[in-house]
């Protein structure tokens, strides 16, 4: 322990600052009294402290040449010989995630001070946000699965609270429930995975443990070589199920678009940058498990790829500015999973970091747009905002370019690295996966690039470009408190790419997990798709696709295009136009309705659930309750019978009978008292005779 700088020993303070802010904002003194914004300042201060700490921590981690991961823990629950420990862990992944989360969080808090200033539950907002920040940071620094799970659930709770922040709106309350339940469905997988980890560590290791890795070789990752592959596969698949819930992968993605009912800051922090990244972080943290069993990685890759394209197609038809960004988030999460799955560990995590920055930027500027448009969220009612909201427009543009992967933005480098890893995966897997199916992730990724460019250009064009606003609202630019984070984030979005430039991939070498990180030789080394060089072909293809998307998007939705489009439309033969129109409208209908996923879930999952519940209720009501009533009736009848027995038989015989005998015998024995003395003497004599006879007989 001695060789660690003090900054490692106190890393648990990083989640502690927001937690203190959470506690402080609970007190009425900090509440919003006459718009004094005390809650905001407390929260901003706490996050600022966390940011500074993480900055220094990262600096120290970078500058430490012989860096070994720090692991500090204390015994929490003890049962006999085994004990559950909780503690903190610092390695390179932890350091960058801490920095990202606290930095973006701090900026979003600053933004929210003005965004939420008219809300009557101002302090409560910062209360919830601080709790969220504390749990997210705690999740990152956790060194064992149990603490990670606790923070995972806490993050889910905060998401529920924040999505339903304006719970007076029914749609917001419903969206909060939907988010919570959908992520809970994924958390079921995580719970099963945790149980399996405990069992596996007990069976194949020496003792039960939740720890990732411990210096004395007792952590779960230390014993990975001795665990059979099928166990690891099952654990990894269940872990990915949890990640699917949190990170809105393909079947469980339905909650993320509805989560836009919450305030924009919430969407920015939780549903763009941090919470949804928790799933990716989980896969990244547990990468040794995934890598040791190869099949889960393939599953991750494919599901990620499908998600990427699927969400991108829906985003093309979205009309709410936040919905567009939500589907975009789902799509990009798919990209991250794709990157991790094909073996590009560094690529996926780099994309996570850059995506957090520019997606937060996009959400915050869309919030600024909504704020400036006085609550209007439909992009068809906006337009020409570049004249009125200059800063917002430029920051949104930078974010869009980063998202699309415009060359030399941060998104470009991260997305490109993912695609390169996908290509290498396709190459390496031709002998294990048949029919060139290993290239599917790459193809889907490239398709996603085109679609991403298309819908983001569409959104930008419809919102900002044009001459006049399509509705009657007079837009106004936002205040400094809201603009400043936008500018800072925009700068980061541009500059962050420099960290991960190929050839000089500092990030790669920084975060590249090898034996150094966990001390374990993994199967990944054979499987690794880490690029040492630059894949120029893929880079060129993705750039071309990006430009194609931009051009087509501007062409279809841009200003003054409608007339030219009509000319083109008239030049197509009628039958083609007719069928093309019908097919196009049909396709549009399906995609616009999100492929009817919500309806599928409602009818096949929720209704079935309700029917089962109703069925059980009927059984309970009519059968089981009838049994209870029957028993009660039987009891009542038994008591009635007993009462009757008691009254008529026992009382009659034992109680009333004796009195009856006494009375009746008395009535008749009275006649013995005749009053004649001589009769009495006669009776005496008869008695004497009787006794004499008795005596004689007895002799």
């Amino acid at each position: 322990m001695g060789e660690y700088h003090w900054i490692y020993h106190y890393v648990w303070m990083v989640p502690l600052f927001p937690l203190l802010a959470f506690i402080l904002t609970l007190f009425p003194q900090v509440r919003n009294i006459k718009w004094t914004y005390k809650g905001a300042y407390v929260a901003i201060g706490a996050m600022g402290l966390s940011t500074i700490y993480s900055l220094f921590l990262t600096g120290r981690v970078i500058s430490d040449h012989e860096f070994k991961p720090y692991n500090g823990y204390l015994r929490w629950l003890t049962a006999g010989n085994s004990s559950i420990e909780i503690g903190v862990m610092v390695d390179q992944l932890t350091a960058v995630m801490l920095l990202m989360v606290s930095f973006v969080g701090c900026l979003i808090f600053i933004y929210s001070r003005d965004y939420m200033r008219h809300d009557k539950r101002f302090s409560r907002f910062f209360n919830y946000m601080s709790l969220f920040a504390a749990s997210m940071l705690g999740l990152i620094v956790a060194n064992n699965f149990l603490l990670l799970f606790i923070c995972w659930e806490l993050v889910g709770l905060c998401s529920y609270l924040l999505i339903g922040f304006w719970f007076e709106k029914t749609s917001a309350a419903d969206a909060a429930k939907k988010a919570f339940i959908t992520t809970k469905t994924g958390d079921l997988g995580l719970t099963i995975a945790l149980m399996m980890i405990l069992w596996a560590s007990a069976t194949y290791g020496n003792n039960m443990t939740f720890n990732f890795v411990t210096p004395d070789e007792k952590g779960f990752f230390n014993i990975l070589p001795s665990v059979p592959t099928w166990v690891l596969t099952m654990i990894a698949l269940f872990l990915f199920l949890g990640a699917m819930g949190k990170s809105a992968q393909f079947p469980l993605h339905v909650w993320l678009p509805d989560a836009m009912e919450g305030p924009t800051s919430v969407s920015a922090l939780i549903h763009a940058a941090t919470m949804v990244a928790a799933g990716v972080y989980l896969v990244g943290r547990c990468y040794p498990i995934f890598a040791a069993a190869v099949i889960p990685l393939v599953v991750v890759a494919f599901i990620g790829a499908i998600t990427a394209v699927f969400a991108a197609t829906i985003a093309v038809t979205a009309n709410d500015i936040k919905r567009v960004l939500a589907y975009s988030t789902v799509s990009q999460l798919g990209y991250m999973m794709l990157g991790l799955g094909v073996g590009g560990y560094t690529a996926g995590l780099f994309h996570l970091i850059t995506h957090a920055v520019f997606k937060a930027l996009l959400f915050l500027s869309s919030g600024s747009v909504i704020h400036g448009m006085s609550g209007e969220q439909n992009i068809w009612k906006m337009g020409g905002l570049h004249k009125h909201m200059k800063y917002t427009c430029w920051t949104f543009a930078i974010g869009t370019l980063a998202l699309i992967g415009f060359p030399l933005t941060s998104g470009f480098f991260s997305k490109d690295e993912i695609l390169a890893s996908a290509f290498t995966f396709g190459e390496h897997s031709t002998h294990t996966i048949p029919f060139y199916l290993g290239y599917i992730p790459l193809l889907l990724g490239l398709t996603g690039v085109f679609l991403t460019a298309f819908y983001m250009t569409r959104c930008f064009t419809l919102t900002f470009l044009g001459n006049k606003v399509r509705s009657n609202v007079q837009p106004q630019e936002s205040t400094l408190w809201m603009i400043l984070p936008l500018i800072i984030l925009a700068g980061c979005a541009l500059l962050l790419g420099l960290v991960g430039i190929p050839k000089f991939n500092f990030f790669h070498s920084f975060i590249h997990f090898t034996r150094d990180s966990v001390g374990v030789e993994t199967a990944l080394y054979k499987f690794s798709s880490e690029q040492e060089g630059v894949n120029w072909i893929i880079m060129l293809i993705s750039v071309i696709l990006g430009f194609a998307g931009i051009i087509s998007g501007y062409a279809i939705y841009g200003y003054k295009i409608q007339e030219r489009f009509t000319e083109i439309k008239n030049s197509i033969p009628t039958w083609l136009r007719y069928y093309g129109n019908m097919g196009f409208k049909g396709l549009h209908f399906i995609v616009k309705n999100k492929y009817f996923f919500d309806e599928i879930y409602r009818y096949f999952v929720i209704c079935v659930n309700l029917m089962i519940a109703k069925f059980c209720f009927i059984i309970d009501q009519f059968i089981i309750d009838k049994f209870v009533d029957l028993w009660a009736c039987i009891m009542i009848w038994i008591s009635r019978i007993k009462r009757w027995i008691d009254d008529k038989i026992i009382d009659a015989i034992a109680v009333n009978g004796w009195s009856y005998i006494s009375i009746v015998s008395g009535r008749y024995l009275t006649y013995l008292q005749t009053g004649y003395v001589q009769q009495y003497i006669m009776i005496i004599c008869l008695g004497i005779i009787f006794l004499t006879i008795l005596g004689v007989i007895a002799k």
């Binding site: 001589q678 009769q679 006669m682 004599c685 008869l686 004497i688 005779i689 004499t692």
Partner: protein
């Protein structure tokens, strides 16, 4: 011999008078026959050599009780009324009861007397005892060796027959036996001994009977007291 005749005569008188008392219609006559009965009973007592009781019977019973009954009869009963029924409805049952009781008494006593019991087989006796006074009196009257025999018999209870037999068996002739008998203490039922017993062994009963008699006196007086009329 004489004893047997006396006994049977007295038996007849007793039974006859008892039956008369029970059956006679005239109450006055019944009371007078009661007197006869009591006299006969006193004679029976004397026959049994309980003279004291006989005398007391005459004094108390005949002189006291019967007189008192005669007074009350004269005060209360309607003697001249001859149409009254003597007996009530329990006549027949009473005869049955009487017969049964009598038979049970008799059979019981016969049964008991068939067993060998001390002293009861011979009937009432006179008992003699030789004590110091007797020996003193007999000192000069009989020879020394006979006196020695008598001394050996002293303070033992003997019936007359037994004594006679014992002395005869010891060689006494009839004259000596008569002398001994003359001075032997025969007062077993005498007033002396009764007086002694009353005031030593039976003093409690003695005192209690006096209490009872006092109480009876008071009670009887209170019972017959006339209610005082309010105005004198």
């Amino acid at each position: 011999m004489i004893q047997a005749i006396t006994f049977f005569l007295l038996t007849i008188v007793l039974i006859g008078s008892a039956i008369c008392i029970v059956l006679k219609k005239n109450l006055f006559h019944a009371a007078l026959i009661l007197m006869l009965f009591l006299f006969a009973m006193a004679a029976m007592y004397i026959h049994l050599k309980a003279e004291l009781i006989g005398v007391i019977q005459v004094l108390a019973y005949v002189g006291g009780v019967t007189t008192f009954i005669l007074f009350v009869i004269m005060l209360t009963a309607k003697i001249t009324d001859k149409s009254e029924e003597r007996f009530n409805k329990q006549r027949i049952l009473s005869i049955v009861v009487m017969a049964v009781v009598f038979i049970s008494f008799v059979s019981l006593s016969v049964h008991l007397s068939s067993k060998k019991m001390d002293y009861f087989s011979e009937g009432p006796q006179t008992w003699v005892k030789i004590n110091e006074n007797t020996i003193k009196d007999l000192k000069n009257k009989i020879t020394e060796d006979k006196l020695k025999i008598i001394k050996s018999l002293r303070n033992k209870e003997f019936s007359i027959d037994l004594m006679t037999d014992t002395l005869k068996a010891s060689g006494f002739n009839q004259m000596e036996i008569d002398i001994v008998m003359k001075y032997a203490v025969t007062q077993n039922e005498g007033i002396t001994i009764i007086g002694k017993l009353l005031l030593s062994d039976y003093v409690l009963s003695f005192e209690l009977i006096s209490v009872i008699l006092t109480v009876t006196m008071i009670g009887a007086i209170i019972l017959v007291k006339k209610e005082e009329s309010p105005c004198l």
